[in-house]
């Protein structure tokens, strides 16, 4: 008797709860799709195009990416969804979504990763991109698989309150006066840090490792991605970042933080930031329009305003050192792309 009644209310409650859950989750699942079609429908009424959306995965800086997307959206009427993260995060997301790709265009902060995407056949060539001929030849793919629309140079950033005479060369950082004062970004998290390390090694050969071994002996600490390495230097917990991304330093300096950057005399590495269309894209025309936009005068102007080096050789930056003012190492991008994984492995083991 008791069982019977308890079962009856259980029947009611269980059914109601199950239905609620099903409906709620179904509703949530549907949300996005409904939203998308609504947007698409709204757009198609005004412009007559089929699908006016584009998904871009982009490595920082966030402010620049937002400005680029906003201007592109207003010029083209295409709605852009963005995912922002470090180069490593973006590549990881691409890998996770391999069976079910979402992104149409990626903007990375490391050339070898774009070479890797090309090698795996994941990129869609766009040889007809407008203004592609004005790009720095060394940084982009001749077949149009990727275009480096901006770049950053790597240098030695230092806290001006703690360091009065800045170090002039990479080897200075091994001096005892800088013991335990220096951060270096983690090459497994930062594409540009990897570019610096592989670039240095491609110029110096295997002897290059002795520099990093000296760094380790001098208490240089591997500290997260670029910003995580720079931040303690701004607050004064550390004095120096080896292989700092210059635009981040310029940005903090412009705010008034006690920080500055030097490019060592023996030369440094410039890290191009390639954009590529993914082969899996379902919005090919929109993606091509976005690449054309990134190469346009106005987008390149936004790039130089963000203290990055413009990808086009005919556009100069006003608020920072231009390419011709930065001493460069003789870098071999082919070697760097090929040896990236091994170098990352060896380097992170060395600095563990």
């Amino acid at each position: 008797m008791v069982n019977m009644t308890r079962n009856t209310w259980k029947k009611g409650s269980a059914l109601v709860l199950a239905l609620t859950l099903g409906a709620a989750l179904a509703g949530c699942g549907g949300n996005k799709a409904v939203e998308d079609t609504a947007i698409a429908a709204g757009e198609s009424k005004t412009t007559g195009a089929a699908d006016k959306t584009l998904t871009v995965y982009t490595a920082g800086p966030e402010g620049l990416a937002n400005k680029l997307v906003k201007e592109f959206e207003s010029q083209s009427g295409i709605k852009v969804e963005t995912f922002q993260g470090t180069t490593g995060k973006i590549l990881a997301r691409l890998e996770a979504e391999k069976s079910n790709p979402v992104a149409d265009v990626v903007i990375l902060a490391s050339l070898p990763s774009a070479q890797g995407l090309k090698k795996e056949g994941l990129t869609l060539p766009y040889p007809g991109a407008k203004n592609a001929d004005k790009l720095n030849k060394d940084w982009s793919d001749p077949e149009g698989n990727y275009f480096s629309t901006s770049a950053s140079a790597l240098g030695i950033a230092y806290n001006t309150k703690l360091v009065t005479t800045p170090p002039a060369s990479w080897s200075d950082l091994a001096k005892p006066e800088y013991k335990d004062q220096i951060n270096i970004p983690d090459p497994s998290l930062s594409g540009s840090a990897l570019d610096f390390i592989t670039g240095y090694l491609s110029d110096k050969g295997d002897n290059g490792w002795s520099l990093f071994e000296q760094y380790k002996a001098n208490g240089v600490a591997m500290a997260g991605a670029n910003q995580e390495a720079l931040d303690p230097v701004i607050t004064g917990a550390k004095s120096i970042v080896a292989g700092a991304v210059d635009y981040m330093t310029y940005k903090a300096k412009a705010k008034g933080e006690p920080i500055d950057i030097v490019y060592p005399q023996e030369g440094t590495v410039v890290s191009p930031r390639p954009a590529a269309i993914l082969k899996s894209t379902k919005h090919e025309e929109n993606a091509k329009a976005f690449i054309d936009y990134l190469l346009s005068d106005s987008a390149q102007k936004l790039v130089s305003d963000a203290a990055l080096l413009p990808g086009r050789t005919d556009i100069k930056a006003e608020n920072r050192a231009n390419l011709d003012e930065i001493p460069l190492l003789k870098t071999d991008w082919g070697w760097m792309g090929e040896h990236g994984p091994d170098v990352t492995d060896k380097f992170t083991k060395l600095f563990k």
């Binding site: 008791v2 963005t82 490593g88 990881a92 917990a237 563990k352």
Partner: protein
């Protein structure tokens, strides 16, 4: 008789449905982890996870995780046990608002809390700026001991709640009896309180252990500084940075999963052996033994110091960092600004959207989780049949498994090409993840409320001719509502600050307050991130206080 059979049949069907839901939501994603770890490059390789483990680094990382877990159990015990005793046995226990204050460390996202400690203790940090003489302390703090301290200060509220509940149930009678017989305090504690506390402590210690080895925020901020690597930071590295290696990540995740299940099993053995029936029909009475003035004072000082260290120091850093014009200048009155709060709270800003996303996503998730969890808990009853025990086991699994492991499993499952529902990369996926991660809270709270109800209450309703629906509405529901409410609150609080899952499953262009904060740190806008932390923890705290006030009003009206 036919009616009875129908009932029985329905009960079975409801359980089967619940089991199916649990399998789909929780068991399959976890199974995916094991499958992926033995399935490399399209081939079945049984030895793959073992090869990953044989890599000597991995063994040291696993032992590092376990050692950290053990030390944090010790740390939280040292903090929580005296606190629970103080709150049950001294006049401080009358201050109910303290209960919510004690929860603040737990509500603070762990990576924010660690960040606060780092900013305070580092070279040229706030401690050095406030008291240059104490600069030496910083070096000692950046060590394994410091990491254990930070994590213990974050997790102690969790153990405290369990221990306080248990101490209250023990009541005063037994201690009084011993005192009458002339047993001194330490003897009473050793021979009476400690054995009775053991089962609650075992449960708490197990959860603290799992939460520690599953924690990601502190290892990624503080652990990295001191070069202490644990399983979660390794797993996160393999699935979110280049070169990506899902095989290694899932192998590590399998190991972590197995460790947690073993700990859980050991705990349940202890639990079975040392559980005593404490709740009789007579109700519990507080001890009438009054503690001395001296004890009252030291209790007060203890609580004050604990609050100073667990809330005062990290929040000093967080608030200071959120109001600084230039971080390079440090603490100075002319360096003070509220601009970051203004930027954050301006309407339609990305930060406002992130905050709103956090709120509605966790509201939706906690509401679904409460209904789902209540359904499971009601089906589990007192877990008498095998089916009920299975539902019990499955529905509590997410609480014994590191969040990051479950999230990886969910991604593997819901992003597979053969899944018919395109849930991945939608808000639905986020809600689903939160629901799966936090459904055990409701199950636990409702289950404990349910098992305390005497079946005679239902029989009484039945005798007076009430229909089953009526009994459900007027007898069962009012009695389990407090449990549902507690589950809802817990889920909402934790979901609104959830980071690891959110980082991995947010659709493009969508941010929550937690991922927003993380992104600000990545972009060098530390002040903005800290301001967001203050606002989101503040909002949650206000909400909890409101609920507490409303709750106590309701109780007063009822009596």
């Amino acid at each position: 008789m036919k009616y009875f059979l129908q009932q029985r049949q329905f009960k079975i069907w409801s359980m089967v449905l619940a089991l199916l839901v649990l399998i789909l939501l929780i068991v399959v994603p976890l199974a995916e982890i094991f499958i992926q770890s033995v399935y490399r490059n399209g081939q079945l390789q049984w030895s793959a996870p073992f090869r990953t483990l044989a890599d000597s680094d991995m063994v040291s990382v696993l032992t590092a995780s376990i050692w950290l877990g053990v030390c944090v159990i010790l740390g939280t015990t040292v903090l929580a046990l005296p606190l629970a005793w103080v709150m049950v046995n001294t006049r401080l226990g009358q201050w109910r608002w303290l209960e919510i204050v004690f929860l603040i460390p737990f509500m603070t996202p762990p990576y924010i809390g660690s960040m606060g400690w780092i900013l305070f203790m580092q070279k040229n940090g706030y401690l050095e700026q406030l008291a240059p003489g104490l600069a030496g302390l910083g070096g000692a703090f950046f060590s394994f001991g410091g990491m254990v301290a930070i994590m213990s200060l974050h997790l102690f509220p969790f153990l405290y709640l369990l221990l306080r509940g248990a101490l209250e149930r023990i009541g005063g009678n037994m201690e009084e009896a011993a005192a009458v017989m002339g047993a001194p305090f330490l003897y009473r504690f050793r021979r009476i309180v400690a054995p009775l506390l053991l089962s609650a402590f075992g449960m708490g210690a197990m959860l603290v252990f799992v939460k520690t080895i599953a924690e990601f925020g502190t290892p990624v901020t503080f652990g990295k500084r001191i070069g202490y690597e644990v399983m979660t930071s390794e797993i996160h590295k393999y699935i979110s940075s280049w070169p990506i290696d899902f095989g290694k990540a899932t192998s590590l995740a399998s190991v972590l999963l197995t460790t947690c299940l073993l700990v859980w099993y050991a705990q349940s053995l202890v639990n079975r052996k040392y559980t005593y029936g404490l709740v009789g029909g007579k109700g519990v009475r507080r001890s009438s033994m009054r503690s001395s003035n001296w004890l009252q004072w030291s209790a007060g000082i203890y609580v004050f110091l604990l609050l100073l260290v667990s809330i005062g120091i990290p929040y000093f850093s967080i608030v200071a960092a959120s109001t600084m014009k230039l971080r390079g200048i440090g603490l100075a009155w002319n360096n003070f600004t509220l601009d970051f709060y203004r930027e954050l709270l301006s309407w339609n800003s990305p930060s406002m959207k992130a905050l709103m996303n956090s709120l509605w996503l966790s509201l939706a998730a906690s509401t679904i989780a409460v209904f789902l969890g209540t359904w499971f808990a009601v089906l589990i009853e007192r877990s008498r049949t095998r089916l009920q025990r299975t539902i019990d086991l499955f529905s509590l699994l997410p609480n014994t498994v590191p969040g990051i492991v479950l999230v990886v499993g969910l991604i593997l499952l819901w992003n597979s090409p053969w899944i018919p529902i395109p849930l991945y990369n939608t808000y639905g996926m986020v809600i689903l993840t939160y629901v799966v991660l936090f459904v055990p809270y409701t199950v636990q709270y409702v289950k404990s409320a349910f098992t305390q109800i005497d079946p005679s209450l239902f029989q009484a309703g039945q005798v007076f001719g009430a229909k089953p629906g009526y009994i459900f509405r007027r007898v069962l529901l009012p009695l389990i509502v407090p449990g549902m409410l507690a589950g809802w609150m817990m889920t909402f609080t934790i979901a609104s600050r959830e980071l690891v899952g959110s980082l991995l499953i947010m659709p493009p262009s969508v941010q929550t307050s937690a991922t927003y904060i993380y992104a600000q740190f990545e972009q060098g806008q530390v002040s903005l991130g800290m301001a967001m932390a203050v606002i989101s923890v503040g909002l949650t705290t206000i909400l909890l206080i409101l609920l507490e006030v409303l709750g106590s009003k309701r109780k007063r009206n009822a009596s």
